[in-house]
C-alpha cells in the first residue's frame, strides 16, 4: 500500500475516532436529564456507534493487515453484550459472588442492589457509621438460579400465572418452594464462608450475629418494594445458607409479583442481591423522615423511636415516641409525643429476636435526647443532600451511645400533597431572577445554597458543605468537592466536557458556559439554581425544591437505566497505558478501549511506515531545526508543514499544524529548557537501563527517536527526553466539539519513589491547569477536551513547557518537600510563556 493510501486510511481513522468520542459524549450528555430521549434513540445511537467502531477495526486492518485480528473478537463480544441489553436481556457484569462494603459504590448498584449500594456510599463517601458487612451479589443470585435450573421452572409457573390459570398466591407459593429447595453451588458456599471469616476477624472474640436483608433491583427506588421482601435479624452466622435461600425466595412474594406486574417490571429485571450486616444491638432505634410527607412545606423532620429494635416501628406493630425537629441548624425540637412503651423487641442470646418488658422507669421516658436528635438530623440532611431526595432512614443508638445508620432510601412524598403546596408558576412570578437562559445544563436538578467562588486550589480546600460552586472555568479538579456542592455554575465550559461527566456522576445540578455567573453572583449570596429551566434566582425558592422532590427522578426510568448500563460497555477507558501488558485487543472491555487501541496502533503504523519504510514520497520525514538541542523528526500527513519537496530541514516558522506549533512554542520557552548537564548517579542509570530494555517501548527501533506525525489540525508527538517518555496526541480546530489533547508521561531513571514523586508533581501541574489526570505509579495520563481554539493552544503550550521542564526534575527532585517549590517555578514559567502568545 502506498503512503498516500495509508495516510488516507489514517485520516479516516482519525475522523472515526473523533466521531466515536463525540457520539460517546452525546450519549453521556443524555444522562444529564436535560434531554427527553426514548428507546428508539438508544437503539439508533448504538447502531451508529457500532458502525464507527467496526469501520475503525476495518481501517486499521487494512494498514496493518492481519496484525490485530483479535480486535474483531473483542468487538463481537462487546457488541453482543450491548445487543443483549437492547433486547432486554439483563447483562450482569461479571463480579465476585460477594463484595465487602468497603469496595461497594453506586456503580455497583446493579450487582449489589440499591440497599447495599446506598449504605456503602454512606459508609465510604460520607464516612457515616454504618454496620460492617458484605453484599451477596446478583452474580451469586444468577449462579444459584442457573445451578438449580430455576429460570426454566419459574418461567413455566409464570406462564400459567400470566394466563390467569393460577392465582398470584399459588404462583408465589410454588415459585418460592422451588427456590428454597435449591442447593447452593460449591463455589458460592466457599465465598460466603470466606466473607463470614473476614467479617468475624473485624469482630474477633464475639459470636457473629447478622442482619440479613434483601437488596433487590428497583427496591428503594421510587418503586419501593418496601416490606415485600424478607429481612432476618440477629441470625447466627452459621444459618447464612438457609437464610440466603429464604431471602432469594422472597423475591417472589405474592405482593412483589403483583407490584412488578402493575409497574411494568419485566421478568428479567427480577434480580436479588442480599445484604449481610453485623447485627447492631440497639438501646434505642427508630426511623427518621427528613421531611414530613404530609406537610412538606413545614421544614420539619420527623423521628419515631422506641427502646430496643426498630423493626416493630417499621412494621407498624407498636406506637412509638414521635419528635418533630427543625430542618435548620441547630435543629430545635418543635414538638414531641411520648408514649408509654411497655414492651420492646430485643436480640436474643441464642439468635433471633423477641419481646421483653421495658423497665418501669423507662416506660414513659423519651427514648431520644435532644442532642441525639440533633446528631441524627445533621446526618439525615447530609444523606438527603447526597441522594437528592428526602430520605427515609432507619437508625439505632447502641449501648455505647454510638449512632448507626442502618438503611437509607428515598422518601415518597404524596404526589397530591406536594402538588398543592407547589404552585411553582406563582412562586416564580414573585422570585427575582438573577439570570436565565444562559449557557447549558450539564446536570438537571435544583440546588439551593450560598455562593462560593472558586479561583484556586486553596478555595477548593475551604469549600463549605452545601454551597454553590461558582467558577470561571469548568475543571476536573472540582471532582474533589463536587459531592459537597449543592450546585455548580461556571462562566465557561462545555456540557460534554470532563467536569460535566463528574457532575452527572454525583448528580449535582450544573449549569456551564453562562458567561456571567462570576460577575453577577456575590460570595455568600443565597441563591436557587434551577438547572431544569436554566435559571438562577435570588434567595431560597423552596417550591422548586419540593417540586423536584415530588417528581419521579428521571434517573430511575427504564430508559435512563438502560442507557447508563449500555454506556458502561461503551465509555469507560481501561486501556490507559500502551506499555502495559494488558494493552492488547483481548483486554478491550469497551468500545472506548477498542477505539483507543486502534488510534495508538494506527499512529505506530504511520511512524513505522514513513520513518523506516523509505524516502520516496512527499511525506518523507524531516528534521526540525530548533533553538534547543533536540532532534525531532516530523512526518507531514498534509498541510502540517509549509515546506517544499526539496526541503531537508524544517524551521519552526514552517509549522502550520496548529497543535504542533503551540507545543513547540511551549517547548522552546525561554528558561524552560534546562541547559545544565544532567548528572545521574550510577545506580539510577543502571535501573533506567534495565527498565528501558525490559519495557516494551514500542519496538527497539524507536529508542532515541523523537517523532511527530502532523496535519493542519492534528499532531501526534512521541518524545524520549532524558530518561522519560512523553506522548502527546491532539486535535485542534475551530470546531470546539472535535478538540482534544491527550498527554502521557512515563518516567524512567532513578528509583520508584523518585519517579512517582515526579509523576505526582506533573499530575499536580496538569490538574492545576485543568486537565483531567490519571496517575498510576510513574505513569501520568492527562486529558482535556472541548475547549475553544485559543484555549486549546494554551493547553498545548502548557504541555510543551512541561515536557521541557520535566528534564530538570529528573535529577533535582529528591524530596517531597520540593514539590511546592517546583510547582511555583512552573507557575512562574507559565505566566511568562503560556498566556502572552
Amino acid at each position: 500500500m502506498s503512503f498516500v493510501d495509508v495516510f488516507t486510511k489514517f485520516q479516516t481513522i482519525l475522523e472515526l475516532n473523533n466521531k466515536v468520542l463525540e457520539l460517546m459524549a452525546e450519549m453521556g450528555d443524555k444522562l444529564g436529564g436535560d434531554y427527553i430521549f426514548d428507546k428508539q434513540y438508544i437503539h439508533s445511537s448504538c447502531e451508529a456507534m457500532t458502525d464507527c467502531v467496526y469501520k475503525l477495526i476495518y481501517n486499521l486492518d487494512s494498514i496493518a493487515p492481519q496484525k490485530y485480528l483479535d480486535l474483531y473478537n473483542a468487538f463481537k463480544r462487546i457488541h453482543a453484550e450491548i445487543q443483549d441489553e437492547l433486547e432486554g436481556k439483563l447483562v450482569i457484569p461479571e463480579t465476585d459472588y460477594t463484595m465487602p462494603y468497603r469496595l461497594v459504590s453506586r456503580d455497583f448498584s446493579d450487582v449489589v442492589g440499591a440497599k447495599n449500594a446506598n449504605l456503602a456510599e454512606i459508609k465510604n463517601f460520607l464516612r457515616i457509621r454504618t454496620p460492617d458487612g458484605f453484599a451477596i451479589t446478583t452474580t451469586a443470585f444468577q449462579a444459584y438460579m442457573d445451578h438449580n435450573q430455576l429460570w426454566e421452572k419459574i418461567h413455566s409457573v409464570s406462564q400459567e400465572w400470566a394466563k390467569g390459570e393460577i392465582s398470584t398466591t399459588e404462583a408465589s407459593k410454588r415459585i418460592q418452594e422451588l427456590i428454597k429447595n435449591g442447593s447452593i453451588p460449591v463455589k458460592l458456599k466457599r465465598e460466603l464462608r470466606k466473607s463470614l471469616e473476614d467479617l468475624q476477624s473485624l469482630h474477633s472474640g464475639k459470636r457473629l450475629f447478622l442482619a440479613i436483608r434483601s437488596s433487590a433491583w428497583g427496591e428503594d427506588s421510587e418503586h419501593t418494594f418496601a416490606g415485600q421482601f424478607l429481612s432476618l435479624l440477629n441470625e447466627p452466622a452459621q444459618n447464612l445458607f438457609e437464610a440466603y435461600k429464604s431471602i432469594l425466595a422472597s423475591a417472589y412474594s405474592a405482593s412483589a409479583m403483583e407490584y412488578r406486574r402493575q409497574k411494568g417490571y419485566a421478568e428479567h429485571e427480577v434480580v436479588m442481591a442480599v445484604a449481610c450486616q453485623v447485627m447492631v444491638e440497639p438501646l434505642v432505634s427508630g426511623v427518621l423522615y427528613t421531611l414530613d410527607p404530609q406537610n412538606p412545606q413545614q421544614e420539619i423532620m420527623m423521628v419515631s423511636s422506641t427502646w430496643g429494635l426498630g423493626a416493630p416501628i417499621v412494621s407498624g406493630e407498636v406506637s412509638a415516641d414521635q419528635f418533630m425537629v427543625s430542618r435548620d441548624s441547630p435543629h430545635e425540637v418543635k414538638g414531641m409525643t411520648i408514649v408509654r412503651k411497655l414492651r420492646q423487641s430485643v436480640t436474643l442470646e441464642e439468635g433471633g429476636i423477641g419481646p421483653r418488658p421495658v423497665p418501669e422507669e423507662l416506660q414513659t421516658k423519651a427514648s431520644l435526647k435532644h442532642e441525639q436528635l440533633a446528631e441524627l438530623a445533621e446526618l439525615g440532611l447530609m444523606i438527603e443532600r447526597y441522594f437528592k431526595r428526602p430520605q427515609d432512614i432507619e437508625f439505632a443508638f447502641d449501648h455505647n451511645g454510638d449512632l448507626y445508620i442502618l438503611q437509607a432510601r428515598p422518601l415518597n412524598i404524596g404526589a397530591q400533597t406536594a402538588k398543592l403546596v407547589c404552585d411553582v408558576p406563582s412562586a416564580l412570578k414573585k422570585a427575582h431572577i438573577l439570570f436565565s437562559g444562559r449557557g447549558s445544563i450539564a446536570q438537571k436538578g435544583i440546588g439551593i445554597g450560598k455562593v462560593f467562588m472558586v479561583k484556586d486550589e486553596e478555595d477548593l480546600e475551604r469549600f463549605p458543605e452545601g454551597a454553590i460552586l461558582v467558577a470561571r472555568n469548568t475543571s476536573p479538579r472540582f471532582a474533589k468537592v463536587i459531592r459537597r456542592a449543592n450546585a455548580v455554575i461556571t462562566d465557561v465550559g462545555s456540557p460534554t466536557g470532563h467536569m460535566a461527566t463528574i457532575a452527572r456522576e454525583f448528580r449535582v445540578p450544573t449549569i456551564v458556559n453562562t458567561g456571567i455567573a462570576t460577575k453577577i453572583l456575590k460570595p455568600g449570596q443565597e441563591i436557587t439554581v434551577d438547572a431544569e429551566e436554566n435559571a438562577v434566582y435570588e434567595g431560597k425558592i423552596k417550591e422548586l425544591c419540593y417540586y423536584e422532590f415530588n417528581e419521579e427522578p428521571f434517573e430511575e426510568t427504564y430508559e435512563y437505566r438502560l442507557l447508563r448500563r449500555i454506556l458502561k460497555k461503551i465509555s469507560p477507558l481501561n486501556l490507559l497505558d500502551p506499555l502495559d501488558k494488558t494493552f492488547k485487543p483481548r483486554y478491550c472491555r469497551t468500545f472506548h478501549d477498542i477505539t483507543r487501541f486502534i488510534h495508538e496502533k494506527a499512529v505506530e503504523e504511520i511512524i513505522e511506515l514513513s520513518y523506516y519504510g523509505g524516502r520516496d514520497t512527499q511525506s518523507s520525514p524531516l528534521h526540525l531545526d530548533m533553538s534547543i538541542p533536540l532532534d525531532l523528526v516530523l512526518i507531514d500527513m498534509g498541510q502540517g508543514l509549509d515546506t517544499t519537496p526539496e526541503s531537508v530541514k524544517v524551521r519552526v516558522e514552517d509549522i502550520r499544524s496548529i497543535p504542533m506549533a503551540a507545543f513547540v512554542q511551549g517547548l522552546t520557552s525561554p528558561g524552560a529548557w534546562s541547559t545544565e548537564p544532567m548528572s545521574v548517579d550510577f545506580g539510577s542509570f543502571m535501573s533506567s537501563l534495565t527498565r528501558t530494555f525490559s519495557s516494551s517501548l514500542a519496538t527497539p527501533k524507536y529508542i532515541g527517536q523523537n517523532l511527530a506525525v502532523l496535519s493542519l489540525n492534528y499532531a501526534n508527538i512521541s518524545l524520549r527526553l532524558g530518561y522519560h517518555f512523553n506522548m502527546v496526541d491532539a486535535y485542534i480546530s475551530d470546531n470546539i466539539n472535535d478538540n482534544y489533547a491527550y498527554f502521557r508521561f512515563l518516567g524512567g531513571v532513578t528509583d520508584l519513589s523518585r519517579r512517582s514523586r515526579r509523576a505526582r508533581l506533573i499530575g499536580e501541574i496538569l490538574s492545576v491547569n485543568d486537565f483531567r489526570v490519571d496517575l498510576r505509579g510513574d505513569l501520568v495520563v492527562a486529558r482535556v477536551k472541548k475547549l475553544g481554539l485559543e484555549e486549546m493552544k494554551n493547553k498545548l503550550r502548557v504541555i510543551g513547557l512541561l515536557v521541557a521542564f520535566t528534564r530538570q526534575l529528573d535529577v533535582q527532585m529528591v524530596s517531597d518537600r520540593q514539590i511546592p517549590k517546583f510547582l511555583d517555578t512552573f507557575r512562574q514559567l507559565a505566566v511568562n510563556n503560556v498566556t502572552k502568545h
Binding site: 436535560d34 434531554y35 430521549f37 426514548d38 428507546k39 434513540y41 439508533s44 429551566e533 427504564y558 430508559e559
Partner: protein, 130 residues
C-alpha cells in the same frame, strides 16, 4: 395565565417515557396536560374535546402521527400542533408544515426546546384570539 383558564395540551407518543417526562415538565409550568401512548385513545379523546396545543410523534404503531395531526387540524383549526420525531427528514418536515404544523422538533430534544415551542404556540394562540 390564570388557573381557571389553563392552556390545555395533549401529548401523543408511543414511548411512555416521553409522555411521562413531558407531563411533568409541562405541568410544572402550569399547563393542563393529558398524555397518550396509544394513538387510538388520543384519537378518541380529540373527538370529545379540543386542545389548545397538541404535541405528537409521527411514527407510531397503529394510526400514524401524520393522520392524527391531520384529523386534529380538521376538527379544530385553531389548535397548534408540534411534531416530535426520531426520524426527522426533510420530507416529513415539509409535509408537516404543509399541513399547518406549528413547529417540528427532532428527538432527542432538550426540555427547554419543547417548552420554548409551547410558549411560542401559546403566544400565537393568544394573539389570534385577542
Amino acid at each position: 395565565m390564570d388557573t381557571q383558564n389553563k392552556t390545555s395540551i395533549l401529548v401523543l407518543d408511543d414511548e411512555p417515557i416521553v409522555c411521562k417526562r413531558l407531563r411533568s415538565a409541562l405541568e410544572k409550568r402550569g399547563y393542563e396536560v393529558e398524555t397518550f401512548f396509544r394513538s387510538a385513545d388520543a384519537f378518541k379523546r380529540i373527538t370529545e374535546r379540543d386542545f389548545d396545543i397538541v404535541i405528537t410523534d409521527l411514527k407510531m404503531e397503529g394510526l400514524d402521527g401524520m393522520a392524527f395531526l391531520t384529523e386534529v387540524k380538521k376538527r379544530s383549526p385553531s389548535t397548534e400542533v408540534i411534531v416530535i420525531t426520531g426520524f426527522a427528514t426533510m420530507e416529513t418536515a415539509k409535509e408537516s408544515f404543509q399541513k399547518g404544523v406549528f413547529d417540528f422538533l427532532a428527538k432527542p430534544f432538550k426540555l427547554g426546546e419543547i417548552q420554548d415551542a409551547v410558549e411560542r404556540a401559546e403566544r400565537k394562540i393568544r394573539e389570534s384570539r385577542a
